[in-house]
């Protein structure tokens, strides 16, 4: 029984890590709390759903639709909303709280736009749900696909940030914004790049999630919450840390629910969320002050 | 009778020693200067005295009562006020409202808004800000903001005022004007002053004693002329010749 849970934990943990990766990129570079992140996951999920239902295309192919779509939305958002906002001195004075409200408003718009267009009902589709046996666990193939893709992207990300010049530049930007600018790192361009990457990864994650879970216009926010927990647990800007955090959260959640009841899932997620914010806002690995 | 006693204060930040075994005392009514290169630990010392930071070692006694480890608002109510090196005005409030807040809280703890405002106007007049009383604080020039910072601190009716580089960034005329003002309120309000300064002219002319810090250690203490001639001070400030008092 335990290997069933373990695999389930790995699958959800890898998705959490993936979504957190996207959040980390936006949060780390621009220090903006993107509470609409989950909504872009939702959009990716709907892309895959409609791709499958209407056009009969394989969800993996839908990735090629979802990712450009969310990237385009990121660009539109960056130039349309944020560049405009940053021109106002009053806005910049309380940029953190203000940008949070802007993102929150955006999430409300997205949720309700999708609900208006596609009804608020939950939907799902069946893809690759044959069962395979691994150890003594019965696992549907789609979960393995999710684990495979999410895992590959995460590991690829770790390699990217360790080995490539661009990756190192991004890490530098996250850690010391002004110093990075001083050594010639093109801050504005990397901001935009990370913004787009973040949303693109969210879209990808949405496609993956849609394969194994039901989707609805309001599915986004719990993912935003878990992404925040992971980012904070793993330490801001720490890619490896958020991988660890994602897996840890996957384990905590899966085993926690197994020990108690499915209805306790939300309590646990929000409980961990609050506990982490209160007790260790700088994360298990990170350093930095979130306290007044 | 010493109003403030700093004894053996030590402070490190993640292994970096900012202050090491700092001891000195300040008598009531004195003006004491704190001198030192950037990074010597001067602002850290102020933050510890005012309660914004806790020391790792040592004790601070004010008016014969220990204050190290107390929260800044309690220390303010005991009678210590400080200005910040990078000024922190309440930007979207008026100059008058800024200073009145000092009177409403702090040691004075005025209850009525009217009385607080009256008190604030007195202090604004003293500091030459009366004509800008209804301006929003963020619309002041740097010199104005520095005066506002002092005014707000004075409004709390402190017995000890810690001035952190209030003359930095001012033109020579502004410096002379500020020095006059400091002399004035030192006398009229009977407030003991400890000032961190790089403007040596001010240190020499205003202070009765100077404490010199270097890399977190106290390396000299005494009358301005003595400190200026002290070989330790001179070697710490390599290349700086002994400053003369401005006539």
């Amino acid at each position: 029984m335990s290997s069933q849970l373990l695999i389930a934990a790995l699958v959800s943990g890898s998705v959490y890590a993936l979504i957190a990766l996207g959040l980390n990129l936006v949060y780390g570079t621009m220090r903006l709390l993107n509470v609409a992140h989950g909504e872009f996951v939702m959009i990716g999920a709907y892309c895959a759903y409609w791709g499958f239902e209407l056009l009969g295309i394989n969800p993996l192919v839908s990735i090629l639709i979802a990712v450009p779509l969310t990237t385009l939305m990121a660009i539109g958002f960056y130039f349309g909303i944020f560049r405009t906002a940053m021109r106002s001195a009053e806005f910049m004075e309380r940029i953190e709280a203000n940008s949070l409200l802007v993102f929150f408003g955006t999430s409300v718009i997205l949720q309700n736009a999708v609900a208006l267009l596609f009804t608020p009902n939950q939907r799902d589709y069946r893809y690759a749900d044959q069962i395979v046996h691994i150890l003594d666990a019965r696992v549907p193939v789609n979960k393995l696909i999710v684990l495979g893709i999410a895992g590959a992207v995460c590991i690829g990300a770790v390699a990217f940030f360790r080995l490539s010049t661009l990756g190192i530049a991004i890490k530098a930007l996250i850690q010391q914004r002004e110093a990075a600018a001083l050594v010639g790192i093109p801050v504005a361009r990397i901001d935009l790049l990370c913004f787009c990457l973040g949303f693109a990864i969210a879209g990808l994650a949405g496609v993956l999630v849609s394969m194994t879970e039901e989707i609805s216009p309001y599915m986004g926010f719990p993912f935003t919450v878990t992404a925040f927990v992971v980012v904070i647990l793993g330490g801001l800007g720490n890619v490896f840390g958020s991988l660890f955090g994602g897996l840890l959260l996957g384990v905590l959640e899966t085993f926690g629910v197994a020990l108690t009841a499915p209805s306790y899932r939300s309590i646990m997620i929000y409980g961990v969320f609050i506990a982490v914010l209160l007790l260790r806002p700088q994360g298990l690995f990170g350093a930095g002050r979130a306290r007044t | 009778m010493s109003l403030l006693r700093v004894e053996g204060i030590g402070k490190s930040f993640s292994g970096v020693v900012a202050l090491n075994d700092i001891s000195f005392s300040v008598g009531e009514g004195e003006i004491v200067g704190i001198m030192g290169a950037n990074g010597a630990g001067k602002t850290t010392l102020f933050s510890i005295i005012a309660g914004n930071l806790r020391p790792n070692r040592g004790a601070i006694t004010f008016d014969d009562r220990r204050i190290d480890g107390l929260r800044p608002d309690r220390i303010s109510r005991r009678g210590i006020a400080r200005t910040f090196q990078i000024v922190r005005p309440f930007g979207n409030l008026t100059v008058l409202e800024n200073v009145a807040l000092g009177a409403l809280y702090g040691r004075r703890r005025e209850r009525s808004a009217a009385a607080a405002q009256a008190r604030a106007r007195e202090i604004l007049a003293l500091l030459g800000l009366a004509d800008r009383a209804d301006l929003l604080a963020r619309h002041l020039t740097l010199a104005g903001r520095k005066r506002l910072e002092i005014a707000r601190s004075l409004a709390t009716e402190p017995r000890l005022l810690l001035l952190d580089e209030v003359l930095a960034g001012l033109t020579p005329t502004e410096v002379a004007s500020a020095m006059e003002i400091i002399r004035d309120f030192h006398k009229s309000h009977q407030v003991t002053i400890v000032m961190i300064e790089h403007v040596t002219r001010a240190l020499m002319n205003l202070c009765q004693r100077i404490v010199v810090l270097h890399h977190g250690q106290k390396i000299a203490e005494g009358a301005p002329s003595a400190v200026a001639a002290d070989p330790k001070t001179l070697s710490a400030y390599l290349g700086v010749t002994a400053p003369k008092a401005v006539p």
Partner: protein
Amino acid sequence: MIPILRRQIGIATLVALLAIGLPWVGNEYYTGFAFTLVTWIALTESWIVISGMTGYVSLGHVVFIGIGAYVAALTWMVLPIWAIVPLTGLAAAALAAVVGYPCLRVRGPYFVILTFGVSELVKFIVINIEAGLSMSGRVLFAAPDIDDLFFIGLGLAWLSFVGALIVSHSRFGAGLRAIRENEEAAETIGISVGLLKLAAFVLSAIVPGMVGALLIMRSTYFEPMQIFNPQTSVLIVTMAVIGGSDRPVGPLLGVVLLVALQEVLWASLPQLYMIIVGVLLVGVVIGMPGGVYGRIQRLMAANAR
């Protein structure tokens, strides 16, 4: 009491007294509409005491509505209404005290998502408690009619508006503004920031708790998913921000605008309403951070010079 404050309270009281006549002038529909108006006024005026004045934006304020509603549902039939309503205010204040103490210690933006998280956490805890008690929703029998509910709501609206006015003009309010402008400097001039923030937070919870009791009396049904609805928090924030969260007059504008809009859209297209709310929130935060009232104030000040 300073003259301007006395005048403002006088005007508010006069308006409230006039409004008492409403149920006799209009029909039940209008009284219902007025009930909606006054409850949103009560909520937003309470909200600005913490979020407008200290800058600590609470995005989870519905939790106080919900807890008040829950206490009312639990004590229904056990206690008379005149005891239930103040009790719900007290319960909400107690929750605020417990939650506020740790939450207010974190910096601005973290506080925002933290309050949202707390609101959701409490919602799910209540859901689980109700499930444990085998309760799937509670019906409230013999609830007061809309006229009586309107009167209580009007009283709460008056209470929170006048409360916001008094805080705004008080030494306490000046301290809160200082905290908003620069918390460390505020502490340095002798303001006990922790205490003041907590006091503001607790005060901001009382009326919403009582509004919670009113809301379930109106719907005669308590269901945690419904009453702890995060959309309510968003609406409170939006109404206050649109109107201007700095002075008590501000939220009134936002409430009127959004409630009027709600009347038009809610029955047919609730999602469109929320989309417009979202757009307004984003637009006002970017374009008019002081809200409509702040913009009006600045225009008046510019004309005066």
